[in-house]
């Protein structure tokens, strides 16, 4: 039983996943429509589907497919960064239909190849420990990838901070120079002006 939330029928809901490259992301969802007459969410609405769109950090569409009222989608990132997973229903009803909303059950898993099925099927103790170890290895691998990605992000962060620092310094110098030169210009200009007007 996963988490669920409500959205309007024609609304799009997006989830952001900041992930390293070569990471598998698996999501499964279930969508229900609110029935005004019965005042409850229908178990399955005919013809109701969800468009699932996945966008890479460079605004490329990685996945764009229409799934049914219940579905599983997965994608593997090839660059690290913020991937956006958007869900929108394929409802073509007019927006004016008030009180209509959708309930979306959503579960997204990042980086884990779910081993539970294999563990349950394990014939003996040995293969069960074997599958558990495989799962642990996957976890360690994922941690390592995340750490490499973190290194990249920290570098970007450090660059931004250093840029801010040099920006501030450069602008301070430039503004001081402008201040001095403008001040000199002001005095010169006024002096010439007063001399021309025979006030001095």
């Amino acid at each position: 039983l996963a988490l669920y939330f409500h959205i309007g029928e024609r609304e799009e809901k997006c989830i952001i996943e900041d992930i390293p490259s070569d990471t598998l992301v698996m999501g499964n969802y279930k969508v229900q429509r609110w029935d005004i007459h019965k005042q409850e969410f229908l178990e399955s609405a005919p013809g109701l589907g969800m468009f699932v769109t996945v966008t890479t950090p460079s605004d490329e569409v990685l996945l764009s497919k229409l799934y049914g009222p219940q579905g599983t989608f997965s994608f593997t990132s090839y660059i690290s960064g913020e991937h956006v997973i958007c869900l929108e229903s394929n409802s073509t009803r007019f927006v004016a239909l008030a009180g209509s909303k959708l309930r979306i059950h959503l579960d997204i898993r990042v980086g884990e190849h779910f081993m539970d099925e294999f563990v349950a099927q394990a014939k003996d103790q040995m293969s069960e420990v074997y599958f558990s170890l495989e799962h642990l290895m996957e976890q360690i691998h994922h941690i390592s990838k995340e750490q490499n990605y973190e290194r990249e992000r920290e570098e970007k962060f450090r660059k931004a901070s250093e840029e801010t620092n040099s920006n501030i310094l450069w602008w301070a110098v430039v503004q001081t120079l402008i201040l001095i030169s403008v001040g000199i210009w002001q005095i010169k200009s006024l002096r010439d002006f007063f001399i021309a007007k025979k006030l001095v």
């Binding site: 039983l1 996963a2 988490l3 669920y4 939330f5 409500h6 809901k13 997006c14 989830i15 952001i16 996943e17 900041d18 959503l106 579960d107 884990e112 779910f114 081993m115 539970d116 563990v119 349950a120 003996d124 103790q125 040995m126 069960e128 420990v129 558990s132 170890l133 799962h135 642990l136 976890q139 360690i140 941690i143 995340e146 750490q147 973190e150 992000r153 920290e154 970007k156 962060f157 931004a160 901070s161 840029e163 801010t164 920006n167 501030i168 602008w171 430039v174 503004q175 402008i178 201040l179 403008v182 001040g183 210009w185 002001q186 200009s189 006024l190 002006f193 007063f194 007007k197 006030l199």
Partner: protein
């Protein structure tokens, strides 16, 4: 080779082997239930999430605002009876552990209604802890785990701690980087603006002064000639 070695251990006492198997399965399996999501919360908007939970379950809600405005959000949580079990306003990050007393649908909401123009990126992690053991005295019955299984358990627990720690630092870094990039932009805009103001004001001052004297001069000039 390896299979026969393990098999001879299991042959002596099927009951013990079965219990160990179940325990290994439970302990080596991934944590029971949990969702972590990062989403954008537009200004003056509220987003609620619901989850159906059993009674006596322990859960933890961690959330953090990664970017936007003052990096704060309102958050509240209601139990199935509508009672507010958690309510905080303008929090940057928090962790809320709770043990459910009622079975039903728990709702938690993030609200950005106090903000008029900054949309926030919010991360939350809703972890539903393990249910109490099926057999209360299961831990007493298992007298000895095999070395591999106990190693498995230790590694799994350690890795979960590592992943939690990693997520924590990833979010802090994302938030700090967001602030640094904001600061950089603001410094640039302010510097350019200040330079323009500098030029406008200084040239304006000179022209204004000149205009004062020109008017007076014209008046006294006319009077002179």
């Amino acid at each position: 080779g390896m299979g026969s070695g393990m098999g001879s251990g299991g042959r002596s006492g099927m009951g013990a082997a079965l219990r160990a198997l179940v325990l290994a399965g439970l302990l080596c399996a991934p944590r029971a239930g949990g969702t972590e999501l990062t989403f954008e919360l537009p200004d003056s908007d509220k987003q609620c999430f619901h989850q159906e939970l059993e009674r006596g379950l322990k859960f933890t809600l961690d959330y953090q605002v990664i970017s936007g405005g003052h990096y704060d959000v309102d958050c509240y949580m209601e139990d199935p009876n509508g009672k507010m079990i958690y309510k905080e306003t303008k929090k940057q990050y928090d962790s809320f552990p709770h043990r459910t007393e009622v079975k039903g649908v728990y709702t938690f909401c993030f609200s950005n209604e106090f903000s008029t123009f900054s949309h926030k990126t919010v991360y939350f992690d809703f972890q539903v802890g393990d249910e109490p053991p099926i057999l209360p005295d299961m831990s007493n019955r298992v007298t000895a785990l095999t070395q591999m299984e106990s190693a498995c358990v230790t590694i799994h627990e350690a890795l979960n701690t590592v992943i939690d720690s990693q997520t924590h630092y990833r979010l802090r870094e994302a938030q700090d980087r967001s602030r640094a990039e904001d600061l950089n932009g603001r410094v640039s805009y302010w510097s350019v603006g200040e330079t323009l103001i500098l030029f406008v004001v200084s040239i304006g001052q000179v022209l204004l002064l000149k205009s004062f004297f020109t008017e007076k001069r014209a008046g006294s000039g006319r009077a002179g000639t």
